[in-house]
Amino acid sequence: MMTAGALLRAMQRIRAFEEALAGRPDHGFQLFSMGQEAVAVGVAAALGADDQLLTSGRSIAAALARGVDAGAIMAELLGKEAGTNRGRGGRGHLAQPAAGFFGAHAVVGGNLTIAAGVALALATRGRGIAACMFGDGACGAGALHETLNVAAVWRLPLLLVCDNNGYSISTPQAMALAPQPLAALAQPFRIPAVTVDGMDVEAVREAAVALAARIRNGEGPAFLECRSARFATHSTSTRETRAADELAADRARDPIVAQARRMQARGELDAARLAAWDEEARVAAVAALAFADAAAYPASGSVLEDVQ
């Protein structure tokens, strides 16, 4: 069980990583998770070595939370051969199955049926569960329905995690999706579903651990909706559409600040320790960036490798 401090530090590392990358607009656009760190960290805290995590294209937080090496992720995002995917996947396709991060897939909803298949393979092997993170936008896709149904009929060890930041690019959830809450989508399939505050890392962790336990217990799939908020624009090349006050209200719910405050209130953390952890995270991010910058691009002659 990860401690409150470990949860906080994992979020700090993600934030620092993305801030370091954000300072470097010289590598095409990126899909940041700022504000949504608690979802990735809380879910990853419920997963073990035999488990696999799949995500949408917004995957930096999940990859780091799952323990994939920061340097390899940064190198991948900068298109370097030293990246997790040898620089072939890039933003939206980060993957390291050997580390339990089966990977991101940039097709909205496109990883859902894949995750059901991964869950089936794990069930056949007899060890591990699959968790799949997707956004609210994916809840409009038929793939979710087909996945919920087969997962329920076959009692697959699958944890479906909706990281609901309330928007699909510029489209607010309510304009595109009738279900309220989105967790209600699981009910017809008699799949247990919970909605939690995605800005509260301990709440996410507890819900994920509880649902994962049921799944490991052979009770079939479960659905976890985490209400989060995206602090940055959809991508670094997308224009912002939300009002300043809405953004300010979101930022006031910063999951990192909230966890730090909570720990301080519980007397588990003092300002000095917090600052030290922040600095540690910053240093790690700078190191990852340095590693990535020093790494080489793939040779153009390798363009036909690993096609078939």
Partner: protein
Amino acid sequence: MSGSAAATRVYFREAIARALSEEMARDPALVLFGQDIGRFGGAYREFTGLFERYGAQRVRDTPVAEAAMIGVGVGAAAAGLRALVSITYMDFLMLGLDPLVNYAAKARYKTGGQLRVPLVVKATAGARGQGVAHSQCIEAWLMSVPGLVVVAPATAADAYGLLKSALRHDGPVLFVDHKRLYPTAGELPAEETLVPFGRARIARGGSDVTIAAHAYTVRVALAAAEELAREGVDCEVIDLRSLAPLDVDTLVMSVARTGALVTVEEGQATCGVGVEVAARVREARDGEPFRVARVAALPAPVSSNPVLEAACLPDAARVGAAVRALLS
């Protein structure tokens, strides 16, 4: 390309927005469906101003559900409206092929002429650093579907003129707009000029070799032609514009003069646009020989990696090399 004094210079996206706006004013039955096409104005800002002018009933933001987006557009069109469905990345057209190919393309035929489907599916194709699932060009698949018209403009004027023709056609049309064309600008004639289906455009006159391309690769072909001109090779560049129907006559007349054809496309060469173009020309010349070469993406997924994307896609250098090899 220099237009008439009255012509205005507009960005590709402006040409599309103007065609849409004018057609919506002209035909109250026209409804638009797409992700973030409302207040946001579309991924490429090609829907700018339409929501404000025509409202939420006619400019509909949809959920991320390509099958329903196209299916709803098809049903609405078949039942008396006229629909345009915007698919932000042609890769995701795959999610909506069932309503497009199994229903829309066959509705008129299978109902013995009772139904018509005045639908335009606008699908944005091509690579621009977005990776393996946001870069594909599958227009050749749709070219093979009876009942579908497929157009792919390379200029602002053709985007405007072909989109207008598509929005007045009484059957389903695939309108392919390439990502890399959005930052480009071109001249739009002052007077409304529609571009008919099945009519290619000679983008550059020449006598030594015919280069056939469509969408963004027309610009690649023109760049190659400039280089080759310096070497004394005079290329004729034909912008196909309309893939189904194809303007075989224009191609045949050009090849009759040049005796050599190089096809260029960003999609795959295998079962692609170019191989079909060459075959149609050959069939029209019944057997009279001519030299042929095709340039296309290499047979690999298109990575977002800058080095690998560039290595995979056809560029002016590869077109130039193909022309030199063909003429040598």
